[in-house]
Structures are given as structure tokens and as C-alpha cells.
């Protein structure tokens, strides 16, 4: 059954500001942001560079490279390749660098290590 009766959330008593200040959480946040922000900038720049080329450099995009296949088609297909590539890269990065540390913090919180009444009970990296 669902939890529509809204039972008291196991995390209701957690002091999230305390968790936010732990080194481990800061590491998780840094790892996440230092991957997703630069990557977002890179793919957006690459996409807009492509759109600008298709828009304003028609001559360049129309150069035939092989048979009837021109630069525009190759760059377009490369957009597919980079999209698939970034996806695979992000998945592998998350599995290695984000998921384990996120699971640790989650288990500690759910194990009541950050309850508001009293400080860290045990084990949490301060």
C-alpha cells in the first residue's frame, strides 16, 4: 500500500543543516557539481556551435566529404555520438563516484545519526 496516511517520516527528526556541513556531504556535492556543470556547458556550447554553423555557415556544412555525405551530416551524427557518449560517461561516473558516498550518507541518516536531539551518535565523519 502507499503511504497516503502520511506516517511520520523516518527522517523527520534529522538535522539536515548538520548533514550539509559534514565533509562527506560536501565531497558528494562537489563531485556531483564538478561533473554536471562543466559537462552541461560543454554540450550546450557544442550544440549551439552546431546550430550556428547550420544557420550561418551553409557553405561549409555543404562540403561533400564522402559521396553525398557532407560536413553537416557528419557533424549532425556526431551530435548523436556525443550525446550517447556523455550519457555513458555520466552513468559510469555516478556508479563509481556518486552512488557509494550517497548511499553511505543515506544509511547514516536513516540510522538516526543526525537526530536533532543530540549530536552525532556514532561513526559520522565530522
Amino acid at each position: 500500500m502507499g503511504n497516503d496516511a502520511q506516517p511520520q517520516d523516518a527522517t523527520a527528526s534529522v538535522d539536515f543543516q548538520e548533514v550539509q556541513q559534514t565533509e562527506r556531504f560536501k565531497t558528494l556535492r562537489k563531485r556531483h557539481r564538478s561533473f554536471v556543470f562543466p559537462m552541461a556547458v560543454v554540450f550546450l556550447l557544442w550544440y549551439f556551435a552546431y546550430v550556428l554553423l547550420a544557420d550561418y555557415a551553409v557553405g561549409f556544412m555543404s562540403i561533400k566529404v564522402w559521396g553525398n555525405i557532407n560536413v553537416g551530416l557528419i557533424l549532425g551524427l556526431l551530435q548523436f555520438v556525443t550525446t550517447f557518449g556523455i550519457t555513458a560517461w555520466y552513468v559510469s561516473y555516478s556508479n563509481r563516484k556518486l552512488d557509494p558516498i550517497a548511499a553511505e550518507i543515506r544509511n547514516e541518516i536513516e540510522g538516526h545519526e543526525f537526530d536533532k536531539d543530540g549530536n552525532v551518535i556514532s561513526g559520522a565523519a565530522k
Binding site: 500500500m1 502507499g2 539536515f16 548533514v19 556531483h32 546550430v51 544557420d55 559521396g67 548523436f80 550525446t83
Partner: protein, 539 residues
Amino acid sequence: MNTMVPAAVNVEALKDTTLLNMGIFALFVAVTMVIVFRASRNNKTAADYYAAGRSFTGSQNGTAIAGDYLSAASFLGITGAIAINGYDGFLYSIGFLVAWLVALLLVAELLRNTGKFTMADVLSFRLRQRPVRIAAALSTLAVCFFYLLAQMAGAGSLISLLLGISDWGGQALVIIVVGALMIMYVLIGGMKGTTWVQIIKAILLIAGAGVMTAMVLAIYGFNLSSLLGSAAEAANNPAILNPGLQYGKTETSKLDFMSLGLALVLGTAALPHVLMRFYTVPTAKEARKSVVWAIWLIGLFYLFTLVLGYGAAALVGAETIKSAPGGVNSAAPLLAFHLGGPLLLGFISAVAFATILAVVAGLTITAAASFAHDIYANVIAKGKADAITEVKVARRTVLVIGVLAILGGIFANGQNVAFLVALAFAVAASANLPTIVYSLFWKKFTTQGAVWSMYGGLAAAILLITFSPVVSGAKTSMIPGANFALFPLSNPGIVSIPLAFFLGWLGTVLDKRREDPAKQAEMEVRSLTGVGAEKAVDH
């Protein structure tokens, strides 16, 4: 290979296949109805109704996302655009695909971890509930409305081709039937039934497009270059292989294309019906898997449409396509008829219908959930409504939206489908995306910033559209007789999206109130770790 002359497709012969089309479509409806009934037996709670009990796996949900996303505009619209305008049609599909990286990297997992049912859950998490929730619900309803209208309008033009019904009354009748079926799916099946419809449709659509792609490539000895050559020859215009045929005409049209590109790439991650799908999986990791599956399936599908579009240009011919009932949208069905005769046409037509049905169902449940959960339960009843009443309100909203969609579809019949969809993307990117990004990543973001950004983005997008050549002042406008097109571009994104980001920033720095830092900490910790996120519901 040029013996495959366009004349091989006889549009009149299509009418003989009407019964077959209807038969295959009826089979699809029967099979999905059985599944929806079976799936609905466990619909008891709000989490069941809105979020399918969070019981889908990442791969199932990813397939359903592809089903939700690959609308009739994608399949018929992009194939037709490539067949007529060549390379410029391909540009659409690239924007539609790359956009998924925004969802994957910045939105999907964090959203799954912080919300329950709707986009507004996330946006109002650490801000003041009422104003933010109302704004988010209104923009959800606006986006769903435009998207719905596009799908229903598309249904009309499809019908004229696929069922050979060309009179207005007959088409209206079919729109009513499509709408009524959709209402049944959503009323009975809730999110679980809707999701299964999406999954089945996605598999049929991608498989059908895959088979057609293989057939086209086989004709050209699996040589893409000779397919392109043949397309250029049939079009009698080598420029069909180069960018610029549609958007390169004037400086304004070039700028318009930039605007469209911006709206496409930033709109996807802000579409409420896509965002809601992330709540149907149990964890953030499954949400990530969903996006990965969706990216692969959608990417593969768009590669197919490239071949299908040029294949239609080469084998059917632009003139035949343009003069067929349904116009540009008929490229894919005509190509199916050319490749596999009535049987393949029947299959592809049924899939196209199923596409509309499934997308409309997904939009309807999103709009209903937003109304019932955000406006009714949290604003009108101030959080005191019980879940049973909330679901009851959601079901009634489904009926209202269904009727509105049917009426809208009948009156929007014949309108430009691609424009309505691009409008939905522009509204989503302007009204929703800045607030989603700020509230997930900017500590200082405040309620005033959110409200300014959402209303400002929504109003700017809709106003600019109203005063654009889409509505008046051009031959293809909705009101061709009048001219109040003060804004030269058909897509407002290039103005309204940066404006909404700016307003979000301005509203925040001018806000004298500060938000609760404890809530910000809670949202940040929850979003990254998934602590306390509602898990799958066991039955």
C-alpha cells in the same frame, strides 16, 4: 534504383485500406484495454494513481518516456520535414535528442529525490508553498494545454489521410472517439495503465520505424550516400542535403531558427508530463536508468527518421507528399504504403493513432494530477484533503480536460501541429526551467524570484506568440486576414527564456525576505542522497 518513381504511390488506393487500418487500430485498443484493466486492479492510493505505485523499473519507465516523447509530431512531423525540407528537418531531431542531457545531468535524479507527484512539489519544496505551487500548477496546465491541442489537431489531419474521412463532421467524430478512449484509459488505468499504453506504443513505433528503415536501406544496398543522392535527384534540388532550405531564407528566419534551437534544447527537461514520469520509479538510480534508456531509444528513433525522411523524398517524392491529404504529415504513411503495401500502411497508421492516444493520455494525467494535487489539495483544501478525495478530484479533472481536449481538437483541426508543439516547448523552457535550475542549485533563490520567473516567462512566451507571425500577418497564420505581428519571430524562446532567467535572479536579489536555510539544507541533502524518498509500493 531510380526506377522507383514517385508515381508508384497512388493516393486513391489508400482509401481501400481504410477497413484494414481500422481493424489493426481496434486490435491495439482491445489489447491495451485488457492490460489497462488488469493494471488498474491495484489502483488504491494517490501514489498508485499518480505514480503507478512507484513500481516501474528504469528500463520500463525509459521505454514509457520514449513513448511519451515520440509524439505524432516527432514521427510524422520530422519524417515529413526531412522529406520536404531535407537537412533542416534533421535539425529538429538533434535538438529534441540533445535536450535529454539537460534532463539527465541536471534534473531527473534530483527531482525524483525531492518530489512526490508533480513538478510543483519540487519547486515549492523550500519556498513559500501557496504562491509557488499555484504558479507551477498554472504553467503545468498551460504547457499541457498547448501540447494537448497539438496532438488533437494532429489527429484530425491524420484521420483524413489514414481513414479516408475528409469531411469536417466525420473528422470531428473520430476526434471524439479518440478523446473518449483516452479518457477511459486514464480514468481506469491511472498512471499504471497509461504507462503500459506508452510502453506498448513505444515498442510498436520503434519496431515499425526500424523495419521501414531497414527496407529503405536495403533498396539502396545499405549505402546512405546513394540514398541521399537519390533523394536529391528526386527532389531535383541538391540543396535538400544542405542546411538552410527552410530556415536560411532571410536573416529573420535564421534568428528564428536559433530561437527554436534554444527552446527545443531547454524545453524537454521542463515538460511537466516528462518530469512526472520520474516519480513512477522507486529510486533516483532507476530515474537515471530511465533517462539512459530514453536517450538510447529516442536517439535510435531519430536516426531512423533521417533515413525515412530522405527515403520518402526519394521513393515517394515531395510533390506527391504535399498533394496528399494530410500534407507534410503524410510522408511516413505514404512511404509505408510504398514499401509494404496496405498491410504495412495499416500497421504504421495504427501506430500513429496509438501515438496520439498515448501522448494525450500522458498529458491528461499530468494536468489532472497537477490540478488535484497542487491546486485542490494544497491550495483550496490547504493540505487537509484526504487522498481518496484528492484522487476523486483528479478523476473528475480527467473528464473535464478530456472534454476540453476534444473540443479544442475539433476547432484546432488543421492548425499547424509543429508550431503548437514548439510553443509548448518554449512555454516550458521559459516558465519552468529557470525555477527548476535555481531551486535545485542556487542557495539564495527566493519565493519572489520563483514567482517573477514563472509568471514572467509564461506571460512573455504567450504574449510574444500572440504578436508573432504565427497568429497574424502571414499567409500561414492562424488569423491570415489580420496583421498585429509586432514580434518578427515565430518562436519566442530567444527572448522569453533569458528573460525568465533574468527575472528569477532579479526577483531574488530584490527580495527582502530570506528563505528558511534549514529547508534549503533539507532539499539539498535529500536531492543528492535520496534519503526519505518514497520507495516502491508493494502489493
